[in-house]
Structure formats: C-alpha cells, structure tokens
Symmetry: C2
Subunit: 336 residues, 2 copies
DNA sequence: CAATATGCTGCACACATGTGCAGAGTGGAA
DNA sequence: TTCCACTCTGCACATGTGTGCAGCATATTG
C-alpha cells in the first residue's frame, strides 16, 4: 500500500521549484505588492503543480488578522434562524471572511466565547445568548467588533441590531382591531429574550391605546410545541378570544394546528392568528400566516457593514442599538 | 476618550506575571505535561487576571492540528439540512472541534475547498456539492478525512454516508400499494444529486416488482416551489393518480398545498402523499406527512466517528459508501 | 556618459506557540 | 556523606508566513 505524503507544502517549496525567493511567493499572494508579472506566473504554475495554498493561520500571526468571524447561534429548529445564519454566512463569505460556527445555549455561551477568542476571530456575531458581563468586557477589551443580532444584551459595550419589535407588535394590534377583533390573546416567547419582552410590551402598549386589555397572555417558549401548549391553555380557558397574536411564527403554527385540529376552530372565520418573523413557511398556502417581516436582508447587511468597519480599523462608533423598521404582511390567517 | 489596549496578551506576559518560564505556561494548557500543581495555579490565576487564552493558531503551527473542521453546506431553506447542520456542529463541538462553515453551490465548491485548505482544516464534511476531481484528489492527498453526508460523489477517494435511499423509496411503494394505490406518480429532486437518483431508481424498481409503472415522473428540484409546480403538472395532466410520492418532504408540502388549495383534493381521501426526510415539520398536524426517516442522529454519529478516527491517525480505512437503514413513518397523509 | 529614478528581489527578523533535552532541586537509601 | 531516582523547569529550536530595508539591474533624464 502506498503511503501518502503527509508533508506540508510550504512557500519555500514553491519558491525552489519556481526558482525564486520565498518572498516572491509571499508577494504573489499579497494584493498590492511588487511582483513582476513574469515571476508571478512562475510562482503560480509552481504552486499549481504542488497543490500549494498559503497557510492562512501562519499568515495571521503576522498580519494580526485571521479572516475568521465567530458566529454563536441558537439551534436551527426555528426556520428564521436558519435563514438568518445562511444569509449572514453567505454575506461574510462574499466579503472574504469565513464564519466559525458554534451553537450555544444560555449556560455554555461563555465557554464558546473563550474558544472563539483562542481562535483569534476578527469579529463576533451573536444571534442568541445571554452573555456574562465578564466575558463581554473581556471581548470588548480586545477592541474587536461584536454585534448581537435580533436581540440586545445587558452589556453596553455591545452593538445590537434588531427590528423595531415593539412597533411590529403594535402594527399587529392595529390590524386586528381594524378588522374587528376585541378579545385578543398573546403568546410570548422566551422570557429571557429581549425580543419577546419588546414584542409583548409593544402589544400591551398598543392594546391600551385602543382601550383594550389582553384576554390572556401565555408563554410559548418560541417553539412549535410551546405554541401548541399555549393554544390549549388559551382555548380551553372558557373565554375564547377572537384573535391570538404570537411572538413568532413557529408558535403561531402550533396555535393554528391546535385550534383547527383539537378545537375544530375555523381560521380566520372564528379566530384570527398572527405571527412574527415572516419566515418562508408563513407564505405556504397551508399556513398563510399574517406576520411581521423583520427584513433579515437588511439586518445582515448592517451587521456585515459594522463588522467590516470594525475590522478595517475605522474608529469604532459608540456601541448602540440599531433598529430596523418592520413591515406587516397580511395573509389568510386574518383576512378571509 | 480612553484608547483601548490593542496589544495581544501572550504566554510570555502570563509567565512574567506568574514568575515562571513560558514553558510552564504552555504546559499548563497542555494535557498530560509535567507541571506541579503549585505553578499550575500561579499560571491560571495570572492568566485569569490578564484575560489570556492560548493562541490556537500559533499552536497549530507546531502541533499540525487546528481543531477546525470544514463544513460545506447547501442552503438551509430545507429544514432537513438545517437540522443536519445543527446536529453535526454540536457533535463536533462536543468532540472539541470547531466547525468552519461555508455555503457552496455546484459551481463555487472548488473555491470553498481551497479556502478550507488554506485554513488547514483537520477534516472536511460536505453535505452538498459536486466536487471537481482535481480538488478531490488534492484534498485526499493531504491525507485528511473527508466525508460526504447525504450524498456520494463520483470520486472514489471520498467516504460517503447516506441512508439506503433506494430501500426507503421501496418501502414507500410497498406501503402505498398495500393501502390500495395503483396509479402512483413520483416527484424527483435535483437530477445532479445522487440521493434523488437513488430514490427514483428504488421507486421504479419496486413499482416494477409489483407489476406497476409510474403514472408520471416530474422534477421538483427539492424545493417547496418546485413541488408545487410538479403537482400542477401532474394533477393538471388529466389522468389523476391516487398517490404522489416525493423525493423529499419540502416538495411533498408543496404538492399538498397545491392539491388542496388549487384542485380542492382531499388528502388522504382522494390522494395519498408521501415525503422523504421525516423533518420535524412532517409531524405537525397541519402536514401530518408520511415520510421516510433518515436517522440523522446516526448519520452524524458515524460522520464524527470517522472524522475523529482520521484525525487521531488511525490507519485510514479504505473509503467506502456507508448506508444507514431508513424507517417509514406513517401519518395522516396516507392513512385516514 | 553620468546621474538619477524606477521596478523588483532577497535577506533577515518577527509573530506566538509546543517540545526534546539537559540539568536543577529534593528526598530517600546505603 | 554519597549516590541514585524522581519531579519538575527553562533553554533553545522549530513551525510557515509577511514585510522593512538595502541593494541590484534597468530605464530615463540631463
């Protein structure tokens, strides 16, 4: 059996084969460095022959840049986060950066951050996570950009990007009231998440604006199962509402499933249901869910711009909380 | 305004503060190296004070191990791939490895591989991708494990893990025939994907086994939209089938949407529909889709075991095509 | 032709770390 | 005391790369 060659190909090997110095090889792969077209070609063909690719890790020792961006993500059961991750990853990739992906729940996030730091990521994007203040301070001290997407954290050092969650929820209330609903229940997400709190407070505020108070508030934990459970509690409680507003789409799907299948309720005839996220599933005829669009593309664009600015050393703007305007998308779950 | 300190903290800084040599610091972070408990504690408290984390990149220069595993993934619109990515990522994380994520379509994969190679990933997992043979050979030459998940590639150097796609499709046919279906149509996925070809051939073989030939075969490109389009073609073609078997769940959802909403067909009364993947959505009451379970957990477990074995230098088993047995899960889309 | 400018190359150092090896220090036994 | 075994430490080299600087060859100008 033939033993494969395990030896790593270095720039020196390429240099020897091409008959030039190692510096020439390095400069060939560095944009904007002095190399004559002739040696450049010699280098490239030698590299091709040997299957050489510059060692990005060794390079990072010198340049202080790894080109790696850490992403700490929640689980992808929620199609909204799957879409977010994909768009974010693609955008970073297009900017020449590579995402290092770690999944973290509330308890393990500090550990993931440590790992990210040991890989010297150029920036950090978080789509989940309550972050301990010790870690936040430590990462912020490294002067690298860190951005929280779709939720904001307690730490002031961290820039966050969310949609105007309260406003979005208010739009939902306005719409429901306009089409005649008065007894409106609310299904909240995870109590720790800022997005859930903001959507709930926006809901309540706008209800009060209309002189209404919520029929019932249940917690659905942002999952399909939790939404279904919440629906059982709400619809089984006697005073049936004429609308249920949910803090995300996934729970709304659970609510509709239970309303239709367990309680035999017609949607939107007897009950209107709304979601939040406008995930691609909301547009399927089987769901046709009225939902609030968060404009993921804009969120991602903003996040990447922020990260790039931070990496290229543009003077760090003071950390802030950026809000993107949301948009209510009407579908058959509220309008017949 | 206070200028943040941009200086990187090195092991030397920790060593000085702790009053030991740099080697002692290094050994503190290396499992199974001689350090007295006393100096270990001195080092750890000094590190904590400075916020030090060893530079994993510099370390990799010496150890020849990065701890990074490349994942080349398709887009995550398909919830099956989202679940696969999450489970794979988590499993790698638990094994002390960090996934570097790149999204690649058929055309760009070679470029992603080059990038992965320049980051010196310890292993490569691909969930998509037709890979050029030049790239396959190049990566295989580096003697690092590479595994294709959920599809196999033309190159023999690459181990692949799939479920027994043909068998799964055959089980679908058996089930449909058993409950009385005779006029069965098939919606294929993407013609380039081995999974689609295998499922189709398994379907056809088992149909022949029962003395049947398919009513119609349409291509749905593995998307919800494609499935919906395929359903329009099939159901609009006059000779309406009594069952439509789909090469994945996403297309089946599209088929059901169109059948119910556009053609007013009752499922499963007038038409049975089956999927493939058993994604979490299939279990929702709104879909209740009979589907083939691929056993993602097992696929991931196998993939990670293979990767770990390859990394730790266990003599590389000859590349092969591993198959996992699938399981048909019955739901209301076929049984009333 | 001389003087200067231009385009390019190679040397040598720096980056942050792991590890083999020699040797220092300690304790115990003869 | 002397010798040996044992546990640990620090020196120094290696890993693969980017880049400032000096210098070489060639082109341009006076």
């Amino acid at each position: 059996m033939i033993r494969k060659t395990k030896v790593q190909i270095r720039s020196l090997d390429v240099a020897r084969l091409a008959g030039v110095s190692r510096s020439a090889v390095s400069r060939t792969y560095t944009t904007g460095a002095y190399v004559s077209e002739e040696t450049r070609q010699k280098v490239l063909s030698a590299a091709e022959m040997l299957g050489y690719a510059p060692n990005a890790l060794a390079r990072s020792l010198i340049t202080k840049r790894t080109g790696i961006v850490g992403i700490v993500s929640t689980d992808l059961d929620n199609p909204f986060y799957a879409a977010l991750l994909q768009q974010l990853g693609t955008a970073l990739q297009d900017a020449g950066l590579a995402p290092l992906l770690l999944f973290g729940d509330e308890n393990s996030t500090d550990q993931q951050i440590t790992q990210m730091m040991s890989y010297r990521v150029d920036a950090l994007a978080m789509t989940n996570a309550t972050l301990s203040s010790r870690m936040a301070a430590r990462f912020a001290a490294s002067d690298k950009p860190i951005v929280a997407i779709n939720r904001y954290l307690a730490q002031e050092e961290i820039t966050s990007i969310t949609c105007d969650n309260a406003d979005g929820a208010a739009k939902v209330v306005d719409h429901l009231v306009e089409i005649g609903c008065r007894k409106i229940a609310f299904v909240a997400g995870h109590p720790d998440a800022s997005s859930s709190r903001d959507r709930e407070s926006g809901f309540l505020r706008q209800m009060a604006q209309h002189g209404l108070s919520p029929t019932l508030i249940a917690v659905g934990d942002y999952t399909h199962y939790g939404g279904a459970e919440a629906a059982r509690r709400i619809l089984g409680a006697g005073k049936t509402p004429d609308a249920i507003a949910c803090a995300n789409d996934l729970m709304a799907f659970g609510v509709m499933d239970v309303a239709r299948n367990t309680f035999g309720i017609n949607i939107p005839g007897q009950l209107k249901v709304t979601g939040f996220d406008n995930s691609s599933l909301a547009d399927w005829p089987s769901h046709a869910l009225t939902s609030v669009d968060q404009n993921v593309a804009k969120m991602v664009q903003l996040a990447v711009a922020l990260i790039l600015a931070g990496i290229t050393g543009t003077p760090q703007a003071t950390p802030s909380h950026l809000q993107i305007s949301s948009r209510l998308v009407l579908r058959a779950s509220t309008i017949g």
